[in-house]
Amino acid sequence: MYLTTQPIDVAKMLHEARPCDGALCLFLGVVRNENAGRETISIDYEAYGSMAEKEMERIAGQIAAEWPSARLVMAHRVGRLAVGEVSVAVAAVAPHRAEAFAACRASIDRIKTTVPIWKKEHHPDGSSGWVDPTRESGDLTIG
């Protein structure tokens, strides 16, 4: 299970990820208080859950094949998140730092590219909009 509706327990993830393997690279995505120049108060993360789990499993398999020395722990939060909460966490452990950084970076890049998760930003004025990373503004307001 990669998706969770509960806050991501980073300390627990580090504990799971960290054996005696030399180098650990952790990436955390944190809900920002602004995007594309507009203030954000919270974000709803919505997933095509069953497919998102499969995609993250596929990414984990790719990373294991490309960096055989690396081990990966990943989690993505869904539901409503406040500013400052962790939306995604990826920890890669490897004997040396080059592989740890590369495996961690590739994982988060691929998660952001193919895992079917969407986010709706809520603004202080009560408006909200789905984020569209393919648009320059990064913010597509619907309704």
Binding site: G29, K54, V88, K112, P116, W118
Partner: protein, 81 residues
């Protein structure tokens, strides 16, 4: 044949529903389903090309054949992370 169509995020807002069952002519492909949706929903018709699509939770192309009972989804630009 009948497929189960899922709508997520902005596409759910456009469709006005989270899912629906649709009857399709035998031999229909994913691209045919998108074309049918575009004929019904002007905001889908406004898309320059078919968005990424999934059949039974796997990414597929427009030529993918559909089978009775398939779960199909067209996906808005993903924004995880």
């Amino acid at each position: 044949m009948r497929v189960h169509l899922l709508y997520f995020a902005s596409f759910r807002d456009i469709a006005g529903k989270p899912d629906e069952n649709r009857e399709l002519p035998p031999g229909s492909r994913v691209g045919d389903l998108w074309a049918a949706l575009s004929r019904e929903v002007p905001r889908f018709a406004a898309f320059p090309s078919m968005p990424p699509a999934a059949v039974n939770e796997e990414y597929v192309g427009a030529d993918e054949p559909l089978r009775d009972g398939d779960e199909v989804a067209f996906l808005p630009p993903v924004a995880g992370g």
